[in-house]
């Protein structure tokens, strides 16, 4: 019996001194990998889900267009509008916008620019096809209908 008692005297605490460091590492990982969104979206964005998605490889080549009913309906009305960066643009301005976006890229990569369309479910195809026609005009032919995956949240 005496022998067992001696054993129980040993220190059983787990050293937790390294715990803050581990947590900090996790923290830094998340700080580095996540990107804060730079633009505030002023249109309603309920994006339809799809199954057969493809991933884009080069994030730097992507420019976003947001389409949907404006959130501030008193000022902008209920018709779906196009938002690029922080402002609403008209259909005729798309060519100019694409040129500006292309200027941001390296010269060799300009043709590879991909336009990601984030469109609300209730937008009509008339508007979408007008955008597509302008993109063809601007020679930005890679297009992605950005959608979340079905079933996932």
């Amino acid at each position: 019996m005496a022998k067992f008692k001696k054993k129980s005297k040993t220190n059983q605490e787990i050293p937790t001194a390294a715990l803050p460091d581990i947590i900090f590492m996790l923290l830094f990982f998340f700080m580095v990998t996540t990107v804060l969104r730079e633009t505030t979206i002023n249109v309603r964005q309920l994006i339809p889900r799809a199954q057969e998605l493809r991933k884009l490889q080069r994030k730097s080549l992507v420019s976003y267009l947001y389409v949907g009913e404006p959130k501030n309906t008193e000022q902008w009305g209920k018709e779906p509008r196009i938002q690029a960066n922080d402002v609403f643009i008209e259909i005729k301005d798309i060519v100019m916008w694409v040129t500006q976006e292309k200027d941001k890229l390296d010269e060799v990569e300009r043709d590879q620019i991909t336009i990601a369309l984030k469109v609300d479910v209730d937008a009509k195809m008339g508007l979408i096809s007008d955008i597509q026609l302008q993109l063809r005009e601007a020679n930005a032919r890679k297009l992605m209908y950005s959608t979340p995956k079905k079933g996932a949240d």
């Binding site: 937790t16 001194a17 715990l19 803050p20 947590i23 900090f24 996790l26 923290l27 998340f30 700080m31 990998t33 996540t34 990107v35 804060l36 969104r37 339809p48 799809a50 199954q51 057969e52 998605l53 493809r54 991933k55 884009l56 490889q57 994030k59 992507v62 991909t114 990601a116 469109v119 609300d120 479910v121 209730d122 937008a123 009509k124 195809m125 008339g126 979408i128 096809s129 597509q132 026609l133 993109l135 063809r136 005009e137 020679n139 930005a140 032919r141 890679k142 297009l143 992605m144 209908y145 950005s146 959608t147 979340p148 995956k149």
Partner: protein, 195 residues
């Protein structure tokens, strides 16, 4: 006096450090959004005035027509589509026909899926239909090389690896630089009048 002062251990209690770090961590987890760079990709045709205006004659049998009207009803090859999953099999039957059924395509190379909407069609329906059509193609490609549909899409998005590249080329049946199994999806300009 001096000696006793030195012996006193001065430590800052750091047990709450982990809690503080946890709070920061949770804050970042909640506030940041990982950018979603996934979606349905298509390649637009070139500028209308750049294209040579040649009347390419396409045989009726090679065209697979999908029409969506402004009331979001879908017409496939002249018949009303009852349920969305049916569309996928119909597309596959059409493309893989290889001349057997005289109403369907001659070969996968010649088969064209034509998707036409109305200006009043809702975007949601368009995406649902495009998703099914592209899915049908991905299924067929994946089957040709014995991959899962999901893996095929990964290969198609990124085939820098030589082995992946080979898979990608066999899947699309590339012979001497021409793709014999292309994904011919034509998105026509919508009709102006609702119907």
């Amino acid at each position: 006096m001096a000696k006793s002062k030195e012996r006193r251990e001065i430590t800052i209690n750091s047990s709450s450090m982990a809690d503080i770090a946890f709070l920061l961590l949770i804050f970042f987890l909640v506030t940041t959004q990982i950018l979603n760079e996934k979606g349905l990709t298509i390649q637009l045709p070139p500028k209308p005035d750049d294209m040579d205006i040649i009347d390419v004659k396409i045989k009726e049998r090679n065209l697979f027509k999908v029409l969506i009207n402004s009331a979001d009803r879908i017409l496939v090859e002249g018949e009303i589509l009852q349920s969305m999953p049916e569309l996928r099999q119909m597309v596959k039957d059409h493309v893989l026909n290889n001349g057997r059924n005289p109403k369907m395509s001659d070969s996968p190379k010649k088969a064209i899926i034509s998707l036409k909407t109305d200006r009043g069609t809702r975007y949601e329906i368009f995406i649902a239909v495009l998703d099914e059509i592209q899915g049908a193609y991905y299924d067929m490609y994946a089957e040709r090389v014995g991959l899962s549909n999901e893996r095929w899409r990964e290969v198609a998005s990124d085939h820098k690896d030589p082995e992946d590249k080979k898979l990608y080329e066999t899947g699309r049946n590339m012979v001497d630089g021409t793709v014999l199994f292309p994904m011919n999806i034509s998105i026509a300009e919508p009709s102006k009048v609702g119907g």
